[in-house]
């Protein structure tokens, strides 16, 4: 399966890109994807506890099953206004 992953704020600085495509096996949850990035980018771990995950433009629970074509975004604490 192929999914789109988007990065913002301090997370974007760590990953070094605003978005990417990811090949994943079926059955992965949003949390699994987050953990994969934490493994690949150790500094990502400092965001793991405070970061929310959005799937297809809405906040999603970490247990959400990811489907082919989903858009996943990591949402560090927002600071608009």
């Amino acid at each position: 399966m192929k999914v789109k992953v988007m990065f913002f704020g301090g997370i974007r600085d760590i990953v070094g890109t605003s978005e990417g495509e990811l090949e994943i096996p079926p059955g992965m949850t949003a949390r699994d994807i987050l953990q994969r990035y934490c493994r690949d980018y150790p500094r990502f771990n400092s965001y793991a506890a405070s970061t929310m995950i959005a799937v297809n433009l809405d906040f999603a629970s970490p247990e959400t099953l990811i489907n082919d074509g989903d858009e996943i975004a990591f949402i560090p604490p927002v600071s608009g206004g």
Binding site: M6, F8, G9, G10, R12, D13, S46, Y47, S50, A54, L57, D58, F59, A73, I75, P76, P77, V78, S79, G80, G81
Partner: protein
């Protein structure tokens, strides 16, 4: 009217948008970049948005408000990109036929915006920089 823009926000456009003929009172919230932040002198800010979701979340705030206060009209425009001291980062306008309602609803809107709308700012100071929200 729920928009993300890289340009100066035109407050008159928001007023025009919510100023229907039944609405006698409009309250706006205008966010301005301050010179000092957390003890640092600000050089500039970089605002980033998850644009598509941010617009959905601003629209959701509008719907929440119209459930709580019937008949009000809401507009929200947030600026992104490079902003300097004195620039306007966000304008919220809430119009109502009553005087008290738009104060409550507009305050609700800015509080919710700061909670759920995926927008981030990096402050760049004379002596460093930081994404606001991190570890705070």
């Amino acid at each position: 009217m729920f928009e993300i823009t890289e340009d100066n926000i035109q407050i008159d456009q928001l007023l025009h948008h919510v100023g229907k003929s039944a609405n006698g009172a409009i309250v706006t919230f205008v966010g301005i970049i301050r010179e000092m932040s957390r003890g640092h002198k600000v050089l500039y800010l970089e605002y980033q948005a998850y644009q598509e979701m941010a617009i959905l979340k601003m629209r959701q705030i509008g719907e929440e408000i119209r459930e709580k206060w019937a008949g009000v009209d809401v507009a929200i425009v947030h600026r992104v990109g490079h902003l300097e001291v004195g620039d306007c980062s966000v304008v919220i306008a809430v119009a109502s036929s009553e005087r008290k309602v738009p104060f409550e609803a507009c305050e609700y809107a800015i509080n919710r915006l700061k909670e759920i709308v995926p927008i981030w700012k990096k402050e760049v100071w004379e002596d460093g920089e930081a994404w606001i929200g991190d570890r705070s």
